[in-house]
């Protein structure tokens, strides 16, 4: 019998709990390793499950930890990490939640997972110094309209047809019970802790336009075309409070 154990065989046996243990593995007496191989199966499954539990606290809360562990067991076998940076693990979870039969009925779950991924990305994003609100106020109106606002690398935007911010707040900080409406959630990092906030209607269009490099004026009209009542001051205040504007480039 061939005693060679290749890494593809080892990998496959780890990710398939019912598969036979590779034949060339031995215990202390030189007998087949048997249950000893489970140590590796357990280490991999437990460490990846714990990483997901840490990364997605609100999804865990919404599903219940026992249910989440079952889901994680299936997810980690279908989507093992593709990078040794565990800070990125789970980026396939939103799509998995969408297609995983037992969670399909909870339509908002994928967006909750997207929000939690965005919060983690924001946490690890590069540091930048913010502009002061005065620098923005100092611009004459035409110059402001033609200017581009560069947003910090820690800024993220998630537009959802669900009350995503309310769901997050209700589960993380005990906010009021969510009421059904679509929400655009802006994530900024005022210092080290990412801060999600719900933007008023069409604020998402405004921020999205800034993120894609459009001028202030173009961003403003993107939002007010959809909503003539668009309240610029709230969106701008959210960006400034979050130290989210890192540069003004005059047009």
């Amino acid at each position: 019998m061939n005693d060679t154990v290749t890494q593809p065989q080892f990998t496959q046996a780890i990710l398939s709990p019912t598969m036979d243990v590779p034949a060339g593995l031995r215990d202390a007496k030189g007998d087949p390793a048997g249950k000893r191989f489970s140590v590796y199966r357990n280490n991999v499954a437990v460490s990846l499950t714990e990483a997901l539990i840490t990364a997605f606290p609100v999804v865990v809360k919404l599903l219940g930890e026992d249910n989440f562990r079952i889901l994680a067991g299936q997810f980690l076998r279908a989507h093992p990490p593709t990078s040794p940076l565990m800070m990125h693990y789970g980026d396939a979870l939103p799509d998995f939640l969408q297609t995983f039969e037992p969670t399909q009925q909870y339509g908002y779950l994928p967006d909750v997972a997207r929000l939690e991924l965005a919060i983690r990305e924001s946490y690890h994003a590069a540091d930048t110094d913010p502009i002061s609100p005065e620098a923005l106020q100092a611009l004459p109106p035409e110059a402001l309209m033609a200017a581009k606002l560069e947003l910090a690398p820690s800024v993220r935007l998630i537009s959802s047809q669900w009350p995503l911010f309310q769901l997050w707040q209700f589960n993380m900080t005990g906010g009021p019970k969510p009421e059904m409406r679509a929400e655009d959630v802006l994530i900024t990092r005022p210092a080290f802790d990412p801060q999600p906030v719900a933007l008023p209607c069409c604020g998402g269009l405004f921020v999205q336009a800034l993120l894609s490099g459009r001028t202030f004026g173009e961003a403003l009209s993107a939002a007010s075309t959809h909503n003539p009542e668009f309240d610029l001051s709230q969106s701008l205040a959210a960006l400034l409070a979050g130290n989210a504007i890192s540069r003004i480039t005059e047009g």
């Binding site: 154990v5 780890i14 202390a28 390793a33 000893r36 140590v39 990078s83 040794p84 994003a125």
Partner: protein
Amino acid sequence: MQQPLTHSFDHLPAGTGVGYKPQHFQAIMDNPAPVEWLEVHAENYMGQGGRPLAQLRALAERFAFSVHGVGLSIGSESGLDHDHLDRLKILCDWLKPAQFSEHLAWSTHDSHFLNDLLPLPYTNETLTRVADHVNQVQNHVGRRMLLENPSSYLAFAESTWEEFDFMAEISKRTGCGLLLDVNNVFVSATNLNYDPRAYIDAFPLDKVGEIHLGGHDEDEDSDGAPLLIDSHGREVVDPVWALYDYTIAKTGPLPTLIEWDTDVPDWPVLADEARRADAILNRKSQAAAE
């Protein structure tokens, strides 16, 4: 890129260090005693900014650092991940750690990263591969590395080398140093039924630049034989302290790390573990001075 650091710790002191956990930041800044240096898992500090790097920046002005990789997969059959080598180089060039180490293990196959330190058979083929990879790492990162002995739960029928000889040969071929995890020696010796002191006796101790101590869990295999699991989730047990004492008696004082990675305790518990290692190190330094 991160602002450059100004410290200059070119070696780890031959005292105790701990694996750094963010929840201990303030306690360490206030009163680190008896801890003299810190170790971080490289992969946790490969983000672009934010709190993790800000904490390292503050700590690195006061403490010598060891960067300990857990994701390079140095025993990988499919070669090293060059993006990951680049990330290691960026981190080491910025933090300027006194030491850099990785494991005699693999964790990635075909871009699947399994987040565990998986075992290698000790054959001529794996020896050539690991030595080649250690050379690549040292060339790419631009510094000498230390290679750590694994904890073993099983053996490979195909192995033709003893682990200590295998590691000695890698060190000889590459010039790398070795990191001796005394708890791993105890765990492997129990699981594979050999004498841990005989392993220490046969190990190339003159190449050891750092020692690890950590806690393990006790289980048994399907035949009822003891099976120890390297969990890093509790205090170091007495037989491991005894094996450490035995080792230090032979090597003299060496930088010694307490590893506690799961169910991380409050700082005083970790500091107590470091104090226990420190007592053994101090006794040996005094004995050496007399």
